[in-house]
């Protein structure tokens, strides 16, 4: 059944007490993860439960993820972090991430939904600092392609100067950001208007270039829009209008 998260939360304790074959549990049930019920599981049961959350791509809240991460750490289960959803890794106690595995850990964690952690929170700040130290980036704002491919959404919290100083791959990282700051939007427009790869001069863009920009297209300023061929712009808006058909007014307005 497509249980709501509220219903699943009520069922969760009873379900855990009736089975420990968690592959039977749907994502609808798993989204009901309750800290007090999971706290009663053995290490093996807990590990396979969190693994199932990953397999079924169940959606957990920040409170549930934080509890799961703490229970795994309490059971010393954080070593096999590759089995767990990236969102859980965002909440891991970072002092227990050892140097040998840090690259693997932080590139997996960077695939998590960073907006689960409050902007400027201690955990979010330490995640970025540790990841940069782990990949040997230090304070540099000129990130190479291989760095960027590992850092994922962590780049969203970096200084806007990274956008113009780094490899063009940085635009793929920016697409992961829930929101861009004003300084990041200015830096993005500076980079796009410069005509450098991968998109080159706006005059050469067509509607598939705009589509490839994904969410970044909504940050383009007026002077860049005016350099884009008129028909390509209208074609882009028509494809957008179809793509957003049935979407909310707020999204259409953007």
């Amino acid at each position: 059944k497509q249980w709501s998260s509220q219903q699943a939360a009520i069922l969760f304790g009873n379900v855990l007490s009736r089975t420990d074959n968690y592959t039977e549990l749907s994502a609808f049930i798993l989204q009901g993860f309750q800290c007090n019920a999971a706290g009663k599981l053995s290490a093996g049961q807990l590990s396979s439960l969190v693994r199932e959350v990953k397999m079924k791509n169940a959606n957990l809240s920040d409170g549930q993820l934080s509890c799961a991460a703490r229970l795994l750490a309490n059971h010393n289960l954080d070593a096999n972090f590759t089995d767990y959803p990236p969102d859980v890794l965002l909440f891991f106690p970072l002092d227990q991430v050892d140097g040998a595995n840090c690259e693997r850990f932080y590139s997996l964690a960077s695939q998590g939904d960073l907006s689960l952690l409050a902007n400027g929170s201690a955990q979010r700040t330490r995640l970025l600092e540790n990841a940069l130290r782990c990949f040997g980036v230090g304070n540099s704002t000129a990130l190479r392609k291989e760095h960027l491919q590992h850092l994922g959404a962590f780049v969203c919290d970096m200084d806007a100067s990274v956008i113009n100083d780094s490899d063009p791959e940085v635009l793929q990282n920016l697409k992961l950001c829930p929101e861009l700051s004003n300084s990041q939007v200015m830096a993005l427009n500076t980079r796009l208007s410069s005509g450098t790869p991968p998109y080159n001069a706006p005059e050469s863009w067509n509607d598939s270039t705009l589509e490839d920009l994904g969410p970044l297209a909504f940050y383009i300023n007026r002077s860049i829009w005016n350099r884009i061929n008129g028909q390509e712009r209208v074609a882009f808006f028509r494809s957008l209008s179809d793509a957003y058909d049935g979407q909310s007014a707020a999204q259409k307005e953007k």
Binding site: I10, C35, C67, S248, A250
Partner: protein, 303 residues
Amino acid sequence: ATEECQSGPITASTLEDPLFIILYDSAGQFDACLDKEVLRGSLATLLEQPLPNDYLVVMKRKLDELYPSGVPEDQLRLLGFLAHQYNAEEIRRWNVTSSDTLAALLNPDNGAWDAAPLRELVARYIASGGTLSNPILDLLGGVYLCYLGEDQLQQINPEAIRNAEKLDISTCPQSKKDILYGKASTAFSPEEGTSPYYSLIQPYLGGASAEDLKKLARSQVDMDINTFLNLNPEELQALSVQDVRGLLGVNLPDLKGAEREPSVAGWIRRQYQSDLDTLRIGLTGGMPSPLPTGSSNDRVNAS
């Protein structure tokens, strides 16, 4: 309209082009070319267009001219985000007799309501005999529930809360949290003491008394830190170190990260440092204990 229509009148067939708005590229032209009868007949289609605000102002003025005594209920359902152009006074002239109309007007896709117009909207629904049943509570959600007046909240039947989805009331003022907690604890009292009870009552704990929180502390609920920080600050001050350990359980270490929150800082200042040390999470700022090796039991014996 203040200018001549140059791009040809807007008709039902013009509206079939999803981007017809490109032809009417100013609110003045939109006003000049839009006939009120076309608006009456194609309100929903028009509102599917990504219309800028000044176009909506034109549409609202024409609707006011069409319906001087208030928009009829069948058209209210089609208003969508245009409904947010109406203030509380104008909404007072609406007839909202069915929950379908209220549902259409509360659709989150069409933008957010401010408190005053939202309160008036719900008042119109209740005045027409509507009740705040659980589907309506689900529609309102936590934020809008907090906009309602205390008199409106008092009318909620506990049964409606029992069957409603999770309602986040964290944005409510304390007095409203207390009312809603009272309703919720009545609604879920049959489940008290069973494992689902905590997940049912948790959204409403912002209105819980210290006495009820102490009861919860004895049933290993592993409260998350956000719920803890949303407890009534005055009731929180009455909790002991053992109560807090019992409430937070496995999430206790999160208290260290929240020690500067006003309610937590105030609570820490009221505890003996020796008691805080038993939590072993590095909390500081407690009162010096009266006895060199005092623990809470000794303190009890001493008093």
